[in-house]
Amino acid sequence: MMDRGRITTRSPLELLRRVGILPPLLIVLITFFNIQNPIFLSTLNVLNVIRQTTYLAILAMGEMLPLIVGGFDLSIGALIAFASIISTTVMKGGMGWYEAPVFAPTIMVVMGCSAAILASLGIGMINGSVIAYFKVSPFIVTIATMTIVGGITFIVSRGTNVFGLPDAFHEVLGAGTIGGFPIPILFMIGIAAGMYVLMNRSYVGRYFWAIGANVRAGTLSGIATRKYIILAYAISAFLAGISGVLLTARVGSGEMTLGAPLMLRAIAAAVLGGAAVGGGRGNIPGVLLGAFFITMMSNGMNLMGLGSFEQAIAVGFLLILAVATDQYLLRPR
């Protein structure tokens, strides 16, 4: 019988092919870490891992889109620091203008965050436009914007971190909860839900996949491919802006070097989650799992008492293992 878009009974290998190597690998590693240190699966630690995952997950969901349309976005790390400095500078500037009326700090927080996120969005649109219209390699374009954005960040901050922000910023966006749920996690859930709908329920996701798989097929199907390539980079930068603002709220000050290691981890998370370098593949649940996997790895190894260099080596090996396995399993038979 023909199936109606559902998984029917398949061999174990076929099943593995469907879900990828990540879920079984996760199960193995969770068991391993928990044997090493039973604290690993305590409620507190699990919540901690999820909270730490938030920023990386939002970033990786964005990074997934340039990967799906067959490109790269290397500027998102720089955008985190950029969003951090822009948002806090605007907030602080505003604080000076108002002589402490009651609502002012809240308004300033909103303005600061909006300014940072919109500026990031603008940079993403520039990335996308140059890539789509001038056919410059995404690698070059986003490296270039990375250095430009880094320079702007430095000039705006004058080389110092930004302190003295409204209390509400950290208290609400950084450490606040609604109904017991940390606000950053709620952001992540909201964004994940939105992105899932975009990718799986709307036509936009289909277009992203199709363009990445074969841009000529997209053109032949009457799709304005350039528009969607720009959209992919715009969303990527937009989410980097949000992630940057949330991370800034968490640390409580505008920091010039925030998020530097996150860019490579975001790409790793997306690729681990099934996004193909070269385009055409990638999905939200996979990317979330990928982000969780990377955070969990470092948490588990922390609990084991491994240093960050040993961790880096282990993560690197696992990345190669996971991607190589997927590549092998996905080969046409």
Binding site: M2, D3, R201, Y203, R206, A213, T219, L220, S221, G222
Partner: protein
């Protein structure tokens, strides 16, 4: 003269199959020192496959190759080259990002201790090009990417001559050359002959074959039909007759008779890709064939109508409405015209599934409500097409890369059905698929026309043009050479038109 009669090359019982297609069937082929031996036949007759076996591109399934009487088994293209077999292929083998010099010396660079001697190579290349006497006035340090098509072809030829060659394969070497360059090439060929080399020459141009051929081997459907041993026998009449002869019969459905209103009118269309002054009409229920040799511009007609080639002059009127001059694929799709490209891979997203590939062009229009996809409706529609077209496998979640060529083609046709298209353009729809599926396609296309669709059927297969189409346009050098009704058309006439030989009487 045919030089001495020592056999330089003997190919015995060569057989090569591709999935669903017997490309070369027990062919014997001989080449002597100092002769030009022409391979002649229709498209798909097996010429290129045969020389690809000889140049080590792929191994034969069966058969032996002897060079100077010694049996050889070719491992790969590099091995063939080391045995003195050089080839100028139809597809270029140049690396666009490297200079002309670097391409000429590719794989046999000069230098020592791992360092390249660029000066030596540059000087030798200049001398070499001068000796070749091809009119070539380009700085040899220029990158291939900046050369015109004709210039690339000259470099390609030069590269083959650079090597120490005993057997030279020239597969349609003149298709991009100007007259003077062709003459220079023939001079080089003459020189090679004098030096006692053997030349295998594939061409569709009659004057070239009758002009430089010493012998001609004629292939049809992968079989050797005849060898013209004497120069006196190599005449146009002989050659035409040889490809016209009876061949295995494919079954064609009876043509529909209900041809109604005009749905497409093309007036004096010219394009940037080179089409000149194309004018024709298309009516509902009609299957209009477009034929032509490779490089005749037949595919460009389809591409222009779909908005893929830039229009410079003329107009396209679809159902009474003039199309915008800057036509895009989405303009054409919107008006119910769908195009299936000659290169199937161009139209398909191989790593996505059947469902997504089928519904891609119609997603917004048919299945999306306020941007959201109504999956149940989509699945229903896709499933209906899978059943109707008998797409295998019938699992709509299967990625396209796991489908056969014929089934991939069906997915593209399904798009047209989903779209409710009224005009279908098929470009080489049966290329590379087996006979059974071919017959299925003929019936499908025939039924489509009987149902009121208008069809443009671009093909290089003479029988298909002859039996499947109501009327046939033959392209030559990017213009319409001739349009004729199928009732008037015969194999002989069509073959003549393809080679632009109208009016010259058969001897």
């Amino acid at each position: 003269m045919t030089g001495n009669h020592e056999p330089l090359l003997q190919m015995r019982d060569i057989t090569k199959t591709f999935p669903g297609c017997l490309a070369v069937d027990n062919v014997d082929f001989d080449l002597r020192c100092g002769e030009v031996h022409v391979l002649f036949g229709e498209n798909g007759a097996g010429k290129t496959t045969l020389v690809n076996v000889l140049s080590g591109v792929y191994p034969a399934d069966k058969g032996d190759i002897y060079i100077s009487g010694k049996k050889v088994s070719l491992r790969n293209a590099h091995h063939a080259q080391s045995l003195g077999i050089s080839a100028v292929h139809q597809e270029f083998s140049l690396i666009p990002e490297l200079s002309i010099v670097a391409n000429l010396f590719l794989g046999q660079e000069l230098g020592s201790h791992g360092l390249l001697d660029k000066r030596e190579m540059g000087e030798r290349a200049v001398t070499f090009m001068k000796n070749l006497a091809l009119s070539f006035d380009v700085d040899l340090n220029e990158k291939i990417a900046y050369l015109t098509l004709a210039e690339r072809q000259i470099v390609e030829i030069a590269k083959a001559f650079m090597r120490d060659t005993r057997i030279m394969i020239l597969d349609e070497p003149t298709s991009a050359l100007a007259e003077t360059e062709k003459l220079s090439l023939f001079k080089i060929v003459a020189r090679l002959k004098e030096e006692g080399k053997g030349i295998i020459y594939i061409s569709h141009v009659m004057d070239e074959i009758t002009g430089i051929g010493d012998r001609v081997t004629i292939l049809r459907d992968g079989k050797k039909i005849d060898v013209l041993e004497n120069r006196e026998d190599i005449t146009e009449a002989h050659l035409i007759k040889s490809i016209v002869g009876e061949r295995k019969r494919e079954i064609y459905p009876e043509l529909g008779t209900e041809i109604t209103n005009k749905v497409l009118e093309v007036n004096n269309l010219s394009t940037k890709s080179g089409l000149k002054d194309i004018t024709f009409d298309l009516r509902a229920g009609e299957i209009l064939g477009i034929g032509g040799l490779p490089g005749s511009g037949k595919s460009n007609v389809g591409r222009a109508l779909f908005g893929l080639d830039k229009i410079t002059e003329g107009e396209i009127i679809m159902s009474g409405e003039k199309l915008p001059k800057h036509l895009t694929p989405s303009d054409s799709l919107k008006r119910g015209l769908i195009y299936s490209p000659a290169d199937k891979l161009e139209g398909l997203a191989l790593c996505r599934d059947i469902k997504e590939n089928q519904s891609l062009p119609v997603l917004l229009e048919k299945f999306a409500v306020r941007g959201f996809i109504e999956k149940a409706r989509e699945i229903e529609a896709v499933r209906e097409q899978i059943e109707k077209l008998d797409i295998k496998p019938d699992d709509m979640n299967k990625e396209l890369q796991y489908l056969s060529g014929g089934n991939q083609q069906k997915v593209i046709i399904a798009r047209g059905f989903l779209k409710g298209a009224t005009i279908f353009i098929f470009d080489e729809v049966t290329r590379g698929i087996d006979v059974g599926s071919k017959i299925g396609f003929f019936e499908l296309i025939n039924k489509l026309a009987k149902g009121g669709a208008a069809i443009i059927y671009i093909s290089s297969e003479i029988p298909e043009l002859l039996h499947l189409c109501h009327s046939v346009i033959v392209m030559y050098e990017f213009s319409i050479f001739k349009q004729e009704d199928h009732k008037e058309l015969t194999r002989e006439k069509l073959a003549h038109y393809l080679f632009a030989l109208e009016g010259r009487a058969l001897k």
